[in-house]
């Protein structure tokens, strides 16, 4: 499962970079900075990316998740820092949601 989620996150990041013309997202790796320090995305782009991800997760894994939840917003270290932290966070949320 975790591999499939990783794959999906990187796939969406790449597609997002192409659609929205974000330089640096052509070949995202775990260390690719997304939001915050040196981040490639501004806040509006982050909003769009999260919405794209939520929709993709719904389609691929048939679980409806909200990524901008209390957990994400209240963490000291934002899960949206890098592609890697984002993928980890998505795994966490999907795992949690699949339990319910």
């Amino acid at each position: 499962m975790s591999d499939r989620i990783d794959k999906l996150v990187f796939e969406i990041l790449k597609a997002f970079g192409e659609n929205e013309n974000v330089a640096g997202l052509e070949n995202p790796t775990a260390d690719t900075p997304l939001y915050g320090e040196n981040g490639l995305l501004d806040s509006l782009a982050l909003v769009s990316l999260i919405a794209d991800l939520e929709a993709a997760i719904g389609e691929r894994f048939e679980v409806e998740v909200t990524l901008a939840d209390e957990r994400a917003m209240s963490r000291k270290r934002s899960p949206f820092r890098t592609a890697g932290t984002l993928a980890e966070f998505v795994e966490e949320v999907v795992a949690e949601e699949s339990k319910n």
């Binding site: 509006l44 769009s48 919405a51 939520e54 929709a55 719904g58 409806e64 909200t66």
Partner: protein, 230 residues
């Protein structure tokens, strides 16, 4: 076929609006805590509380997936509490805010995500003349709708780049269950304060919504239109 999501369609204004859009050939997704009271091949009902996040997320995504996205959202579901502040239970105040403010917020958030993809969309929220008229006995209701007005105005700015407009209609009293408990003299006094002194109708509201939904209204956003000249 165009799709509109209308909240609070079991009765009252929401039901009447849903029926009008069905007559016009739209696909309508509706919701209320209770069961559906509309039967039509192009109508789909979701029994949910608008303040239930999971329910709202599931409804919006299901509706968007079944059709070709969502063209318009009408946040009609609302409850009132007609009482002196000193006689208003905390639980009631919370219920009013849950339905009117948080329900509207959740649907705005989820539907805007869907509309963003297509680069166009129309959101209409429900305000009330009780807010500008500072109606005594409706403090929590008017306060909740004041919150909806500000949500409308700020959201309008936040989603403008995606071609989504967000406006609100502020009806005067319309004969529905919502105002059944208001004494007649009070109602008369209220209507006296309007420029046009009569009860409102669903058509009055529909007319404003039609304007907001019109394709040519893409330059109209963040506005609250009160009826009756208030």
């Amino acid at each position: 076929m165009k799709t509109v999501l209308i909240t609070g369609t079991r009765k009252g204004i929401g039901k009447a609006l849903a029926e009008r859009y069905l007559e016009r050939g739209w696909r309508v997704g509706g919701c209320s805590r209770g069961e559906a009271s509309i039967e039509h091949p192009n109508y789909r009902h979701f029994s949910l509380d608008v303040a239930d996040e999971k329910g709202v997320v599931a409804m919006v995504r299901a509706l968007a997936k079944e059709g070709d996205g969502i063209d318009a959202l009408i946040n009609n579901a609302g409850i009132a509490s007609m009482n002196h502040v000193l006689l208003t239970p905390y639980a009631t105040a919370k219920d009013v805010f849950s339905t009117n403010v948080f329900g509207t917020f959740l649907f705005c958030r989820e539907v805007a995500k869907v509309m963003r993809k297509r680069g166009t969309g129309r959101i209409v929220n429900f305000a009330t003349v009780a807010t500008p008229l500072r109606l005594e006995g409706e403090a929590m209701y008017a306060a909740s709708k004041a919150a909806v007005e500000n949500l409308t105005r700020i959201l309008a700015r936040e989603v403008a780049d995606w071609g989504i407009t967000v406006n609100a209609v502020g009806p005067t009293p319309v004969a529905t269950d919502l105002i059944r408990g208001v004494p007649e003299e009070k109602m008369k006094a209220l209507i006296e304060r309007q420029a046009v002194r009569r009860m409102g109708t669903v058509d009055d509201i529909l007319n404003v919504i039609d304007f907001f939904l019109n394709e040519r209204s893409d330059f109209v956003t963040g506005q609250v239109v009160y009826l009756g000249g208030v």
